[in-house]
């Protein structure tokens, strides 16, 4: 029996973490809703199993997404995760092939060199120990980057790195100690016996030349085992919990489980799956434009994990979704923030030591609301029956050029339509949702939905992406909901509209709620290509910037808002376009104040380019007579 007391810390740690991971997974599974449980079962024993394995290999080990965004950072993560995995994998094989018997306890693979110091002198054995040395060198190169990153994050191409809590630092140090102590322990042992390959062998013989290698080796084997044990035991209470959680998350996501707007086990799993890598911090405009550095998603999730009061963090966010796009783990950060906004503010965060270091499930107490109707004063309306409803939205009423252009387009196309909020309508409910007041929002949604249903329309067109998103996701109308850019695209395809070409250079700003929020990228661009020369910017489509005027942020002050708007407008007008086009009244209003370039909505450009058929030129509609000074 090969055994030595120094393997005990490692064994305790390993057994603890394995049992913990199983118990935690079972608890998460039990906490899932009934439908999600079925989904996960089907996903686990179905087709998506292979998909999950592939994703685990590519994302958890190779870290493909981080490699794509930032090579040096990706290399750091890959060398630690993939390198360690390979070291364990080949170490186990090594023990199986060269050890005294097959099927060994895990510790024999980890401390192989200690128990078989004579191994690796020649032939295949030497080649194998070369491989093991190579893997160790691979990990150590990544570790070197990690240490440098802690002190100067710019080296790995990151502007900011996350701040850590004390226990995270302890875990980080024990993680850092693992591989150097393995290197030294193996080197001393190799030096004493004259074995080892290019790394441990040469370092070993060098050390053995002036140190008593045989006696020195033993303490380092203890250190190696201790740092492994400490790391495993601290893992559940630190950010390194993301390692086991991510596996669970990948299976759950590939089974089709989504956050939605419900509090539940899945949002909790995502909270623990965050590795605090800090990529969301670099993506955040509040960070690089406004200089607010404590509210990014990594900090939100960290606060939730530590049972802190995060309501300030949750509300100080533009909800633009840039971090969702960039997150290498694929956590749905904005929905989690929305859920958090609805939670009650706790005055005294839980401080019990047990709760702090043995985290329980993250229960969210919903905001207690008075059970009375707030908008009961809304009087019912009787809209005329029609095919198409045009809902301008509150913001569009602040930018009348857009709604007048839309009226012109609708009139010219000959569609039978009803401008439902011509004289000012009721808000769509999305701003209330963003403010965490779902019950009130539901009242407005019910009111609007009734009005729309009464009109019997087949299509709802809206000019405001904020309304568009809520109509699509929360109204359940059962009719076609279109943003005006999509509707205009349809009209052009049907040849209901004839357009001139405007000979202008245009850049397009994708509004957050339309692009990342609702996934409409193509239609606005195609419409613009009909009427003007569209130029690309550095911030197109999914990478688009937020204008800063977002209704998502309740806390930001006016100066910082303007700073974000100016920075974004500067980036978008770098190629000196004649017009900065957008598809959102809020973006238009914010950008107009932030740049000298003319800002116009897609609808305005199309209305300007419109060829009005001869027979319809004498229409008596007042809106057609209004000549908007759209283009200079």
């Amino acid at each position: 029996m090969q055994f030595d007391p120094f393997v005990i810390p490692f064994n305790i740690g390993l057994n603890f973490i394995l049992i913990y991971a199983v118990v935690r997974s079972v608890r998460w599974f039990m906490d899932l809703s009934r439908a999600d449980k079925l989904r996960l079962q089907r996903g686990f024993f179905g087709k998506s199993f292979g998909q999950s394995l592939k994703e685990i290999f590519l994302e958890s080990l190779i870290h493909r997404k981080i490699l794509k965004t930032n090579f040096r950072l990706g290399y750091m993560h890959m060398s630690l995760a993939f390198g360690w995995f390979l070291l364990i994998f080949f170490g186990t094989l090594e023990t199986d092939i060269f050890g005294i018997r097959h099927l060994n306890a895990p510790y024999k693979a980890i401390f192989f060199r200690f128990f078989n110091p004579d191994h690796g002198r020649a032939g295949f054995e030497a080649a194998y120990s070369f491989l093991m040395d190579f893997l160790l060198a691979f990990i150590l190169s990544g570790l070197l980057l990690a240490v440098i990153k802690r002190f100067s994050s710019r080296v790995v191409g990151m502007k900011k790195t996350t701040r850590l809590k004390t226990i995270d630092k302890v875990a980080l140090i024990s993680l850092w100690l693992i591989f150097p102590s393995r290197l030294l322990a193996e080197s001393f042992t190799s030096g004493a016996y004259g074995t080892g390959s290019f790394l441990t062998g040469s370092l070993g013989s060098l050390l053995a030349s002036f140190l008593p290698a045989k006696e020195m080796a033993y303490p380092f084997w203890w250190l190696y085992s201790l740092s492994l044990g400490t790391f495993f035991i601290l893992l559940p209470v630190t950010r390194y919990m993301h390692i086991p959680t991510e596996l669970f998350l990948i299976f759950a996501r590939n089974s089709g489980i989504r956050t939605g707007d419900q509090v539940g086990a899945f949002s909790e799993i995502q909270t623990y799956a965050c590795s605090s890598c800090g990529i969301c911090i670099d993506a955040c405009q509040l960070n690089f434009s406004a200089g607010i550095t404590n509210i990014q998603s990594a900090y939100l999730l960290k606060g939730i994990r530590n049972h802190e009061n995060v309501s300030e963090i949750a509300y100080n966010c533009l909800m633009c979704g840039r971090c969702d796009e960039k997150c290498p783990v694929g956590i749905e950060l904005t929905p989690i923030r929305m859920i958090r906004r609805r939670a009650e503010v706790r005055e005294d965060p839980y401080k019990s030591i047990w709760k702090r270091y043995f985290p329980d499930t993250l229960k969210i107490i919903p905001f207690k609301q008075a059970n009375r109707q707030v908008y009961s004063w809304l009087s019912e309306t009787e809209p005329a029956t029609t095919d198409v409803i045009y809902f301008a939205g509150c913001m569009t009423h602040l930018t009348p050029a857009i709604k007048n252009s839309m009226v012109k387009i609708l009139e010219t196309s000959g569609v039978k339509y009803n401008f439902i909020d011509r004289d000012g309508g009721v808000c769509c409910g999305r701003p209330l949702m963003l403010a965490g007041q779902d019950k009130e929002a539901r009242e407005l949604i019910n009111f609007n939905a009734q009005t729309i249903r009464k009109s019997g329309a087949k299509t709802l067109v809206t000019s405001c992406p904020i309304c568009f998103k809520v109509f699509k996701e929360s109204y359940y109308l059962g009719i076609e909901v279109l943003h005006h850019s999509q509707f205009i695209k349809q009209l052009i395809d049907e040849e209901s509209l004839k357009l001139n070409f405007l000979r202008k250079k245009v850049t397009f700003h994708t509004p957050c709620e339309l692009g990342r929020g609702s996934g409409v990228y193509e239609e606005p661009r195609e419409v613009l290509k009909y009427v003007a020369r569209l130029q690309n910017t550095d911030y197109d489509d999914a990478n688009s910037l937020c204008c800063g005027g977002s209704l998502g942020n309740m806390k930001i002050n006016n100066q910082k808002k303007n700073k974000i708007a100016r920075d974004a407008a500067f980036e978008l007008t770098k190629c000196n376009p004649d017009i900065l086009a957008t598809a959102c009244p809020l973006c238009k209003k914010t950008f107009s104040a932030a740049t000298n370039t003319k800002v116009a909505d897609i609808a305005e450009l199309v209305a300007e380019a419109l060829i009005i058929p001869q027979s319809e030129k004498n229409i008596s509609d007042t809106h057609l007579k209004i000549k908007e000074p759209v283009i200079i």
């Binding site: 809304l378 403010a435 309740m554």
Partner: protein, 114 residues
């Protein structure tokens, strides 16, 4: 005091003994831009709710600052938080947050205590 034949109308009285400025203080602490308001009324002019009722954010802000909270408590829930007032405000008052904080303060049942 002699009777001059004139008297103050009841609704013009501002009774500073009965007024409770705790809500206003709560908002000042958390949203300093509340102090910037010049009571111009742009917010009320553009208000979505104001289109249907006689809800006026300008009026509510004045009442809050004066400490006459009863009328505010009644009316503040009518706001739809659509954010037009924030956009048109010439002084850059974050009016949405003012409304949110006022609701929060009423919900917590703040009194003179703070």
């Amino acid at each position: 005091m002699g009777d001059f034949g004139f008297s103050l109308l009841k609704e013009r009285h501002i009774d500073y003994d009965a007024n409770d400025k705790s809500i206003a203080e709560y908002i000042y602490d958390r949203e300093p831009s509340f102090r910037l308001c010049i009571e111009c009324g742009c917010c009320s002019a553009t208000c979505t709710t104001g289109n249907f009722t006689r809800f006026s954010l300008r009026e509510l802000q004045i009442l809050l600052k004066r400490g006459e909270n009863d009328a505010v408590r009644e009316n503040i829930m009518k706001c739809m938080l659509c954010g037009k007032c924030t956009l048109v405000c010439p002084r850059g008052v974050n009016t949405r947050n003012v409304v949110m904080l006022a609701r929060e303060a009423f919900q917590k049942g703040l009194t003179y205590a703070i």
